[in-house]
């Protein structure tokens, strides 16, 4: 789950990490009210799930209330790489002396937590990594040991953080590690981490990704579910508990299992088609979930043909075929459906489908044949 900057800062605050005072605003008027409570000068910051906000004009300094109103009005509704700004974060402007970079993430190759720290902040870390790799100090942390203070000090020294900021940085990093681990984050990134002119080390921007699987430990994370970037189709599918990812083609895809669904998307592309979605209905593939999946796909006006690709494992071919027949009977489908059914008792399953076949419901023996047929029908 990706958090907005302001959500990330609230998350940090709950672990005692210093951030600037701020408030959320959904209108220019709310921005004005927030700014009057906080006191100008303030920063007016677009809250979107994408980078490059500054370049796109989504972050502005406002010296007074008139500027707050002007910038808030301009930024609300702004399209930043396909994300339309609907909320702002109005924040006390910090007097910045220096900018650094800090993050923790999970290193899947090393099977450890990876901390990255650099005295060069405020620019994309990928750019620093490419142009000046030695400017990034890395630390690998065994979750059994945690981030020990002595190790953290060495790390801060290795990153060439100036003496004036060293103590504050060590303290902040230890809290950041705690937030990252106790909060079950996939990523916490502070860019920039700043030293203010008054000598305080604090967070200026926050990028936080939380692990949705950890919700049982953090029931409050459910609030972030509603602000995830999803298109309308994804929102509907998500509400129905389906594993759905919207794509921009014309072939609706339903498959059982994430790997097979991904593979189905690939094969449709390989034979010259363009998938409208990725949809994994899980191993069971019963009538209920099949009907729900067909409904979601049918609501997508871009869909011209539907590919149901099922491999029966424990679930037998007859059950899957009955599920398809029942689902097709229950939902009014506008596009032709091509079924590929293989695996356990596939022959029995195909025999059940046989009498129901028509121009609206077709069957093909292999994944490739079915992909070719469905792409023909969609074009």
């Amino acid at each position: 789950m990706d958090l907005f900057e302001h959500q990330g800062k609230e998350f940090f605050t709950s672990y005692g990490i210093p951030v600037s005072a701020g408030e959320v605003a959904f209108t220019a008027e709310e921005a004005l009210e927030a700014a009057s409570r906080i006191g100008t000068p303030v920063m007016v910051k677009a809250q979107v799930h994408t980078g490059g906000r500054g370049k796109a004009g989504g972050i502005k300094f406002a010296a007074n209330q008139a500027e707050v109103h002007l910038h808030a009005s301009n930024i609300l509704g702004l399209d930043i790489s396909g994300h339309v700004v609907e909320r702002l974060w109005i924040e006390k402007a910090a007097e910045i002396a220096e900018e650094y970079y800090a993050s923790f993430t999970l290193d899947r190759s090393a099977k450890k937590h990876l901390g990255m720290l650099s005295a060069q902040g405020g620019v994309e870390i990928e750019t620093v990594a490419a142009t000046n790799p030695t400017a990034i100090a890395r630390i690998w942390v065994d979750p059994l040991d945690g981030l020990r203070e002595a190790e953290c000090r060495k790390w801060v020294t290795a990153a060439n953080i100036p003496a004036a900021a060293a103590e504050g940085t060590v303290a902040l990093l230890r809290k950041l590690y705690r937030a990252y681990t106790e909060g079950d984050a996939d990523l916490v990134e502070v860019n920039p981490l700043v030293l203010t002119k008054s000598g305080l080390v604090q967070v200026l921007d926050a990028k936080v990704t939380l692990d949705a699987n950890s919700e049982f430990r953090h029931p409050q994370y459910r609030q972030y579910d509603a602000t995830q970037p999803r298109d309308e189709r994804e929102q509907t599918a998500h509400a129905k508990g389906l594993q759905y990812v919207g794509l921009d083609g014309s072939v609706g895809v339903i498959a059982n299992g994430a790997g097979l669904a991904m593979s189905t998307v690939d094969v449709v592309n390989q034979v010259g088609g363009s998938p409208a979605n990725f949809l994994d209905i899980g191993g069971g593939a019963n009538a209920e979930v099949m009907a729900t999946a067909l409904q979601v796909i049918n609501n997508d006006p871009a869909v011209k043909a539907i590919f149901i690709n099922i491999f029966g494992g424990i679930t037998r071919g007859e059950e899957i075929a009955n599920g398809i027949v029942e689902a097709v009977g229950r939902v009014q489908i506008d596009s032709p459906i091509v079924v590929r059914l293989d695996g356990t008792n596939a022959a029995q399953g195909r025999a059940i489908l046989e009498p129901h076949l028509s121009e609206a419901l077709l069957m093909q023996p292999t994944m490739l044949d079915a992909a070719r047929r469905v792409v023909e029908l969609a074009s």
Binding site: L106, R108, S109, A258, I314, G343
Partner: protein, 294 residues
Amino acid sequence: MSIFVDEQTRVLYQGLTGSQGRYYGLLNRDYGTQVVAGTNPKKAGSNVDGVPIFADAAAAVEATGADASCIFVPAPAVRDAVMEAAQGGVKFIVAITEGVPAHDELYLFNALKRHYPDVLLLGPNCPGVISPGKCNIGITAGHIAKAGGPVGIVSRSGTLTYQALYELKTKDIGVTTCVGIGGDPVPGTSFIDCLRAFENDPETEAVMLIGEIGGSAEEQAAEFIKSHMSKPVAGYIAGVTAPPGKKMGHAGAIVSGGRGTAAAKIEALRDAGVQVGLNPTEAGEHMASIVADL
């Protein structure tokens, strides 16, 4: 022979009294797996269709000599269940449960490595392992696999694993062992663990590797194949056309920051001499021609 499990393996089911555990545990027993025990602290002394239930893994191991465990407990309980099995003396742990937090998986990997270095964890979020004709632990449909070899399979995806088993069966090719390592960010068992075991298994003469986008496990596997494997490998990578930044079902299946693309994985595998198919059928055909030339 086979890797990790065979007809001697005695399996304990943590979560056998739950609906999923009972269903698959008894299916595994029907297949011929030695299902010797279950655990549930509240139901010790009872049984599930004749399989005795113990209070914990240690008691089950002591009474039945179980040397493997299969975990079906809910996600919040997986971390403790794995450590309980390791402490109880089990050497091979299969965690089927999906939805386990990544930090729990990272803890398990490091805790087992430090305190129980001889214990192997498969999963979490995996379909399990099957040595056809001998032992099936997990949720794979046993009858879609032909026993005997010469091919070993290792896969990050469940249904694609079944697809691979099925493709080989329709070509009358047998399988020594098929391991589903799961699609999560920190799997207990890696491609390399399986490739090494297949390389050392005299009955496995060729290996089929099924990967997907995200992470760098396939690239690491390619390096291992290049430098350590004498046996031929065929492969397939799912997610060639997946858009960057979108998670495709598995927690680990995401292309982010230009890393973890299928193209990079395919190139690395081909560079290591792996015959990569662009769809599962093509990969199966590659394997058929490899087997024909053995």
